[in-house]
């Protein structure tokens, strides 16, 4: 399955939106945190997990999804949220902890919920696998269209929740796709030191579903395999497990000194930055001109600027809002 020109440009634009968004978030996050790094300080306190480098996974998968489909994401959710169509203004406001945020500041960056596009996050590793099964079961039982995608990291493939959910999806033949972002690192522990198999796609065999491994952080290859898997799920063919090689260009979270990386690894990863690579490819393939892509990038920047301005201009909710929304 190959993307059309429009799909390619949609993917590129969403990758750029995600990158520009995180660049600004990164800058603002560091405000008030220098010279001494204190996570509690600044306009954006708390942990911050950036997804730069991993954008191809989000766009290659979400290019096949619409608002009705369900996605469960992780503690590193920005790229997936953007590609799934989450309201960027309200997401930015949530990251700032403002009243206009998606949950009015209760959740922050690890708990992005946008029911309008059926997007949910879970801050605990592999926690989204079960809910994705449940949403898929719900669609099946209600006879309603839609599939569920559970995004997770390669570290999550060693969690019990992952294995239980895959078995459940397999035995009930649910329309769910498990997408593992293999960025090679579970915080500081390398995949080879934590995982008994080199590639997690082989684990699909244990749960009666097809497994695919996609090397190279290649948005078109991701689009291809994810598209086939999602079509299969829509057609009643059941679940699929996909592991995708991707690159975490940042630390696990901001403030991570990344001393565990081998020397030179980061530099090599930046040489493979998927966004300039895709830009060159679009031009080389005749899908877009420099001017076209400049226009897309300007549009992406404008979206991001608007979202950040919205977040900054928004007020904090009254402190007593902390005591509300515990129950429906």
């Amino acid at each position: 399955m190959q993307p059309t020109k429009e799909q390619k440009l949609w993917m590129y634009e969403n990758m750029v939106v995600s990158r520009r968004f995180e660049e600004i978030i990164e800058k603002i996050y560091l405000e008030g945190k220098t010279p001494a790094f204190n996570m509690a300080s600044g306009p954006i306190p708390g942990e911050m997990h950036l997804s730069n480098g991993q954008e191809p996974v989000a766009v290659g998968v979400c290019a096949h999804l619409n608002a009705d489909d369900v996605a469960t994401a992780t503690h590193r959710p920005h790229h997936q949220a953007i590609a799934k169509g989450v309201d960027l203004n309200r997401m930015a406001a949530e990251i700032f902890g403002k009243k206009t945020g998606l949950s009015g500041g209760r959740g922050g960056h690890m708990h992005i919920f946008d029911p309008k596009v059926n997007f949910a996050c879970a801050g605990i590793i592999a926690q989204g696998c079960g809910p994705a099964c449940g949403a898929a079961l719900s669609r099946k039982m209600q006879g309603k269209p839609g599939v569920a995608v559970s995004f997770l990291g390669e570290g999550a493939a060693n969690q019990g929740a992952f294995h239980e959910a895959l078995n459940l999806a397999g035995v009930w033949s649910l329309p769910v796709i498990f997408v593992i972002e293999d960025n090679a690192w579970g915080i500081s522990v390398a995949k080879k030191d934590s995982t008994a198999v080199a590639r997690n796609d082989v684990r699909a065999a244990a749960y009666g579903m097809p497994g695919h491994y996609i090397p190279g952080n290649d948005p078109y290859a991701i689009f291809d395999i994810a598209g086939e898997a999602i079509k299969r799920a829509r057609d009643g063919g059941g679940p699929t497990l996909i592991e995708i090689e991707t690159y975490r260009l940042a630390g696990h979270f901001m403030g991570d000194a990344e001393g565990y990386r081998p020397e030179g690894e980061k530099e090599k990863l930046f040489e493979k930055d998927p966004i300039p690579a895709m830009r060159q490819r679009l031009i080389a393939d005749g899908d877009a001109s420099d001017a076209d892509l400049d226009a897309i990038e300007a549009r992406a920047q404008a979206k991001v600027d608007e979202a950040i301005a919205f977040a900054k201009a928004s007020d904090y909710a009254p402190e007593t809002d902390a005591l509300t929304s515990v129950f429906a």
Partner: protein
């Protein structure tokens, strides 16, 4: 079970729960049941008996032994418009799936700022007294009630069991429905007769968050839930023989907790004994006593007492387990020591 020529319709809690679910499933296509052995077997404790025959395997789903997967799947289904009822066979098994319960089920409404609803019921069996040892006999009421975001109920009789289950299935927030095995009406568990009561056939609800004064009295308030209510009622009979008038409060619900009913009762009697089969420390008994003393300590004529399970794992051997469990004589002794 016998009607003995009356118009009474006496049901066990197991049958009352099954009837509630059956009626709600007839009325609401979004309701379905998932859990281990809830289909063909009808639930280890009988509370889904007969449902598979009527509703089939799609809506009465036996699951793999994967509590994390099917409880978190229920959360996903609930957020997607279904109203699942899931069973955690023994509450003791919470250890293998608590992330799905307290980090996911209990927090998604809050973390979405009320944007999503989580209309699901997690039903689970509690309690010991039949020598099943400490991984199959706990109550753990406080472990659930302590954590915000879950409603927690535990019926003491079939009438409440049916109405609470119906209310739980209609609630847009997650409800943990804890049923005590000794009250289920399963002969092999040694049933407490007082739990099998007249239960209307038509569907009805019992309000979640409302305690009941199940016996009026003037000298002491005995507060309990589930099995504790029956121990308290038997103790009240014994105390009455000695000229002491005990009032018995059935909490029915731990979250929300009806503090007002407890406070009003103690204001009347001036004495408080809490009966709880859960562990002694950091639990329901401490919370009830704190509720009363924080409100108006001057109402108390004596220091409150508690009859609870000691802070030890639950032993297998009958003499040891029975030594640890609350019983009516311990409640009477507690009163005498006041």
């Amino acid at each position: 079970m016998s009607n003995e020529g009356t118009n009474e319709r006496r049901l066990t809690i197991a049958r009352a729960m099954a009837e509630s679910i059956q009626q709600e499933m007839q009325n609401d296509a979004r309701v379905f049941v998932m859990g281990e052995d809830i289909g063909e077997l009808g639930g280890v404790f009988g509370n889904t008996r007969g449902l598979l025959e009527e509703f089939g395997k799609e809506r009465i789903r036996d699951t793999p032994i994967s509590e994390t997967a099917f409880i978190s799947a229920a959360v996903g289904a609930a957020q997607d418009g279904m109203r699942p009822v899931v069973e955690l066979m023994f509450v003791d098994f919470f250890g293998v799936c608590f992330d799905a319960i307290y980090n996911l089920m209990a927090k998604d409404i809050y973390f979405s700022g009320g944007g999503v609803k989580v209309p699901m019921v997690l039903m689970t069996s509690t309690g010991g007294g039949y020598s099943d040892a400490g991984q199959h006999s706990q109550c753990l009421y406080a472990s659930f009630a302590h954590l915000p975001g879950m409603k927690v109920v535990s019926p003491s009789n079939a009438y409440d069991a049916k109405g609470l289950m119906t209310a739980a299935m209609r609630d847009d927030s997650p409800v943990v429905y804890m049923y005590h095995k000794r009250l289920q009406g399963m002969g092999w568990l040694g049933t407490e007769a007082g739990a099998t009561v007249d239960t209307p056939e038509e569907s009805y609800t019992v309000e979640i968050g409302k305690a009941k004064v199940v016996r009026e009295g003037s000298d002491v308030t005995l507060v309990g839930l589930a099995m504790g209510v029956h121990n308290a009622l038997k103790a009240a009979d014994k105390l009455a023989e000695q000229g002491v008038s005990a009032e018995v409060v059935d909490l029915v619900s731990l979250v929300p907790l009806d503090r007002e009913t407890v406070i009003n009762s103690v204001a009347k009697t001036g004495r408080l004994i809490v009966v709880d089969e859960d562990y002694h420390s950091y639990g329901v008994s401490g919370e009830i006593i704190a509720t009363v003393t924080e409100h108006d300590i001057s109402k108390l004529k004596a220091a409150p007492k508690r009859v609870t399970y000691p802070d030890v794992p639950i032993p297998f051997a009958r003499p040891m387990e029975q030594f640890c469990l609350p019983n009516p004589d311990k409640i009477v002794a507690a009163y005498k020591a006041m």
